[in-house]
Symmetry: C2
Subunit: 139 residues, 2 copies
Amino acid sequence: MTDEFEDTLSIREMCDTFEVTPRTLRFYEAKELLFPHRVGTRRLFTRRDRARLKLILRGKRFGFQLEEIRQLLDMYDRDDSQIAQLSKTYEIAKDRLADMERQRDELDEAIADLREQLKWGARVLGAQKTAHTADQARK
Amino acid sequence: MTDEFEDTLSIREMCDTFEVTPRTLRFYEAKELLFPHRVGTRRLFTRRDRARLKLILRGKRFGFQLEEIRQLLDMYDRDDSQIAQLSKTYEIAKDRLADMERQRDELDEAIADLREQLKWGARVLGAQKTAHTADQARK
DNA sequence: ACGTCTCTTGACGTTAACGTAAAGCCATTC
DNA sequence: GAATGGCTTTACGTTAACGTCAAGAGACGT
């Protein structure tokens, strides 16, 4: 009764707001990442859903998988006093950070490597052939 | 006749040399990236196959897809005089490099972002709750 | 002849995160 | 009351690069 006029969004409004497809929102609901209300058969996304979706998208940017995100999100929903869980969250995040840094370092290596190849002309994958083909390729 | 005793490797020797599985080599052959000889039904990988595999693996490190790698490899196999193709190779590689740099930049952003979150305690995905939960999580 | 080893060819399974129909309900609006 | 428009569920399709059996052939040693 207090929230009879809770401000909610239709699926389309959600999509427009967050630039996702309806399929995506339904998928997230199926995976229990979102819990929109229903009016008849229609979904109504609450403020809470919006907050969650924002976090989901941020999690994705971080490279978390949906299942990991769901777990993290669920922790916050549980009793606030389960601090042990929070520190676990912390560790998961640090692991992810380490992963990302490893990835970036590999990428950096590969980039440097590829740059080096490009410097030598068109022999990108190391094709041997003759030197003049490379020269000509450079025009 | 001249290469009756061409030095070749069995599939197992190839696998050990390049740290790949037999499945992988057969897969590459199916995708026309490798062309091992046959003796009866057995595969014999020639020097050429070894060179190609080396380039394939390098290509993968660069983030090329197998199909792209196949195309690049094929160019080198065609007439040496098709210089136009070579410069196309060059462009493909430059595009890939640009992709990789974009990826890395995004990753850098995400990393910085995540680091920032970690600085603020356990609220990794931005969970709001109370400040003390985060404090306690920091111990 | 028998067992063992290495290799072969199918051919289906895996994973993530949705895409893409197909078919139907409900509320307007003409 | 028919056509629309928006939404629904169900369910199969997609993609890459292999993994993972299953069943069988060939060679080799005893």
